[in-house]
Symmetry: C2
Amino acid sequence: MTRPRLEVLAAVHDHPHADTATLLRVVREPLPAVSHQAVYDSLHTLTDAGLVRAIQPAGSATRYEARVGDNHHHVVCRGCGVVADVDCAVGETPCLHPSDAHGFALDEAEVVYWGRCPQCLAATTP
Amino acid sequence: MTRPRLEVLAAVHDHPHADTATLLRVVREPLPAVSHQAVYDSLHTLTDAGLVRAIQPAGSATRYEARVGDNHHHVVCRGCGVVADVDCAVGETPCLHPSDAHGFALDEAEVVYWGRCPQCLAATTP
DNA sequence: CGTCTTGTCTTGACGGATTCAAGACAAGAC
DNA sequence: GTCTTGTCTTGAATCCGTCAAGACAAGACG
């Protein structure tokens, strides 16, 4: 748990849903010498440790967030790719038990809502 | 709607959840001369036409399936990346209305279940 | 029938994101 | 004090997907 890793963790905390390029830029503010490798490695380590969570909406690079442990999901804008958090409407984990899991041992249900954010809505329908 | 496109469509029908490399290989059996470009273009066209659907589980390349129009979701194996179809347990679309959509105009809820397939379960816990 | 237009296919090069490989370096174990 | 381990730097490589330019076939239209 070294300085680069702490800076990466802080960057993920401060910039939720940022992609790796953004995080690399942020981390290089206090630590100009970090390599992208260290950031990738740190992100993997932090992900394995459960301190950050990786999300990969279709069509964009990997993004990371620091909100872990609570069952929240994401809305992704089809226009600009912005990601926002949402809590599932139902209190429990409604979709965690599909009708037929084909023998899979499930440990997580990931939900992604697709739509258009207010800005893109305003831009396309003025 | 040309021969390459029909072959691509047939390949997606015959190989659900296959990635583009696999589809390219399959299409080249009857049509050895097709370029990857034609396959990519065909897949995009078919996706736009609603005849196939693209899915991108985190950590693997784009996959395509021909089951469209019904509200089904996917289980993905963390070990080998195998994808299988599941129908949502609840008849309606339970998660389509999150508590707070942040002003987004939602049009789709995508659900991915993560776990381990029977083969990987057997391999890791003998 | 001949020309024009449109859209698809081929070829080849490009770009971004991520990973691989090898060596340097620092810190703790013994 | 040396050894070992794990992390970081540097640099190259890989993989997926896209862009760009030209060839080519088919239908539209005169």
